[in-house]
């Protein structure tokens, strides 16, 4: 189903927001306001925005450590994301997580993981929980092409496919695992083809085109929600910046990067479509651009003004004492009263009806094995 004009404009606005935010993050890194590792999403925005707009706000989502942009597009407070990058107390994790561990549970954004591929099994667990509770929720898990060479990828896809878990695995293939071009270390560099090994669906799509991305996720979401099991998507994408802020990216040519920036950039591409469809005028799009720039300037100002995290937080959020509630960041930082936190059925209310492995099927498999 093609996206409506409203969706096109929302995707455009969010991609510009992500782009401007990452530019601000890059600048702040240069000013040493952000330190440590910092991986920018610039260039890959169409993948995240397609998933976020095509799926439900209460679907679970997560990625690896290139994770600033996704939560912002899901509705996280840009100032609180920037404050987390600035290691301030007003950040989502009080400055304890930083760039690689941005988590906003209120918007069903679950992180934020620094070990390559480490989030892949977590996503299966979240999808397992949805099926266990008989919810029609889908989980979306992003990772880079390099993560597809981890054991976690193979182990998890096998289980997810066998148990028909409602999870969309999306490999954001930006071609380089840090400095290593994917085909140098991969016997099958077309990651989506690996789905065949687990008898599951695998599809590649143009990850530099927001409309294609949206349509792909819309279809994948319906496929998973209907109980067909997991799907492996491969978004062919490209990052315009180095792997992290400390990467000069000498392993690829300037021409290659320029080619992608001039011909592949998903933002002007969508802008052209919007204009052609007359969904908005140049002036209206310029106004959107200006507004996103302003939001990001405000985010920096918010983070600049935010208090440091005091040493009284050194030992907090470690061991949970009985009855200790979860921290609701927007309420803690902004005093927000409208925070909707996920709640789950109690152990007495919950009725598990899922028969994960029907006894007859298991017995049949055993018979076949014996024969």
């Amino acid at each position: 189903m093609p996206p409506s004009n409203d969706v096109l404009l929302t995707m455009y606005r969010k991609m510009v927001l992500m782009r401007r935010f990452e530019e601000k993050a890059g600048q702040a890194y240069g000013q040493k306001k952000i330190q440590g590792f910092c991986h920018l999403y610039t260039g890959q925005e169409a993948v995240a925005v397609g998933a976020i707009e095509a799926l439900r706000p209460d679907d679970y989502m997560m990625t690896g450590y290139r994770d600033h942009a996704h939560p912002i597009a899901r509705g996280a407070h840009p100032g609180m994301i920037m404050a987390e990058l600035f290691a301030k107390n007003s950040g989502y994790s009080k400055g304890k997580g930083g760039s690689m561990h941005l988590i906003d549970v209120e918007h069903h954004w679950y992180g934020g993981y620094g070990i390559v591929g480490g989030q892949i099994p977590l996503a299966a667990g979240m999808a397992f929980a949805s099926k266990y509770r008989n919810e029609d929720r889908v989980t979306v898990c992003s990772f880079g092409e390099a993560a597809a060479n981890q054991g976690a990828f193979h182990e998890t896809l096998n289980m997810a496919a066998k148990w028909k878990l409602p999870v969309i695995y999306v490999c954001e293939n930006n071609r380089y695992g840090m400095g290593t071009e994917v085909s140098r270390v991969s016997a099958q560099p077309e990651i989506h083809k690996r789905a065949a090994a687990f008898d599951m669906r695998g599809e590649a799509f143009d990850g530099m085109d927001a409309i294609v991305s949206y349509e792909m996720f819309k279809e994948a979401g319906e496929y998973c929600r209907k109980g067909n099991g997991p799907i492996l998507l491969e978004a062919k994408t490209y990052r315009f910046r180095g792997h992290s802020m400390s990467d000069a990216a000498t392993y690829r040519t300037k021409e290659e990067v320029e080619e992608f920036k001039t011909k592949g950039d998903p933002i002007p591409k969508l802008r052209a479509v919007i204009l052609k469809k007359k969904a908005a005028t140049e002036a209206e799009l310029d106004a959107i651009d200006e507004a996103q720039k302003h939001i990001c300037e405000e985010a920096v100002a918010f983070a600049d003004a935010a208090p440091e995290t005091g040493l009284e937080e050194l030992y907090t959020d470690m061991v949970i004492e009985d009855g200790e509630p979860d921290v609701h960041p927007r309420e803690r930082v902004l005093g927000a009263k409208d925070v909707k936190w996920p709640s789950y059925p109690s152990g007495q209310e919950l009725k598990v009806t899922w028969d994960l492995e029907p006894a007859a099927a298991a017995a049949k498999a055993e018979e076949k094995g014996a024969a």
């Binding site: 994790s93 996503a123 299966a124 979240m126 099926k131 998890t156 789950y344």
Partner: protein, 326 residues
């Protein structure tokens, strides 16, 4: 009171907690149709169905991580590792995700998972299947580590671990599964973080945990009693957090300490307890702290070498004689 095996005690704990809370599920290799490699999960598939007692492929990293993810959104997984030797493959998920998600999220998420399985020597299993790896987890902030020695403690601590809001690594001992003991009927909880005096004494404190309690330390205490030495036996039960109070009270009472553990001698639970005592009860000590541990070698298949590698009653008696200057 019922007299049941350590295995049956664990089975009761699992069954009762799964009955009490439908969010609790058990997942691991051979736990369902095979009824458990060590039969800890006997009968649970029939009682609770295939979504709550789940046979997995041999993918320790994958299903440990699946458990962590399920715990992050409200379920209470019990992940069975056939043995802790295999959990080395899952350590990334336990250490990097389970132990850190509360902190990384600034208190937004929690991970109430139990990872449990057999540990230690099993009898002629050679080096890859005879390890005590608990100290690696004791080292990690964000985890709790439990190692019960008796059927009653196994039941009470497993129930408490399943109800705990934090990730708990639960070390069972392969050679304890058949050991019988008295276990209270019905609801029986043992708090995490509390050691237990398994035998009162006045002359020397023997600190231990897991299988060494019944196989080595209590028999040694019995022998010492015959020789007129009154040994107090402290069963740590929980290795993280340590019960500092109980340990120090006993040291202050007897002034002499021997620590007995099955694991290797370096960077172990024993070295941690030595550190605690020398810092907090230095003046109470009448002798340097004695230690008996597994030897600093890999476990051999050959019976004589295997026996010599592990702590024995004789080695405990020798260590006690040393701290008593006998």
């Amino acid at each position: 009171m019922q007299n049941i095996s350590y295995r049956e005690a664990l089975n009761q704990a699992l069954g009762e907690e799964m009955e009490r809370d439908a969010n609790v599920f058990l997942m691991g290799e051979e736990v369902a149709r095979y009824n458990g490699a060590y039969k800890v999960s006997q009968g649970l598939l029939d009682r609770f169905g295939s979504a709550r007692v789940v046979d997995t492929p041999i993918s320790e990293l994958g299903f440990a991580g699946l458990g962590v993810g399920a715990a992050m959104v409200g379920l209470r997984p019990v992940i069975e590792m056939m043995t802790w030797n295999f959990a080395i493959l899952a350590m990334d998920q336990i250490v990097n995700n389970a132990a850190k998600i509360r902190h990384m999220s600034g208190g937004q998420l929690r991970c109430p998972i139990v990872v449990r399985g057999a540990s230690g020597a099993g009898g002629r299993l050679s080096s890859q299947h005879s390890q005590c790896l608990e100290s690696g987890y004791v080292n990690i902030p964000g985890l709790k580590v439990v190692a019960p020695a008796t059927p009653a403690d196994a039941k009470g601590l497993l129930k408490a671990s399943i109800r705990d809001e934090n990730p708990v690594c639960f070390f069972e001992a392969e050679l304890l599964y058949n050991q019988k003991g008295d276990v209270p009927e019905g609801e029986h909880l043992v708090p995490i973080g509390k050691a237990d005096i398994k035998r009162e004494g006045t002359d020397v404190t023997l600190i231990t945990y897991s299988r060494m309690l019944t196989w080595t330390v209590l028999p040694a205490a019995e022998e010492l009693a015959k020789q007129g030495i009154s040994a107090e036996v402290v069963d740590l039960r929980t290795l993280r957090p340590l019960d500092v109070e109980t340990i120090l009270a006993s040291v202050n009472k007897t002034n002499r300490v021997v620590i007995v553990e099955e694991s290797w001698p370096h960077a172990s639970v024993g070295t941690d307890v030595v550190d605690l005592i020398q810092r907090e009860a230095f003046d109470a000590l009448d002798a340097p702290i004695g230690r008996v541990s597994g030897l600093d070698v890999n476990m051999a298949y050959a019976a004589a070498l295997e026996a010599a590698t592990q702590p024995s009653v004789e080695r405990v008696l020798a260590a006690v004689n040393q701290v008593l200057y006998r």
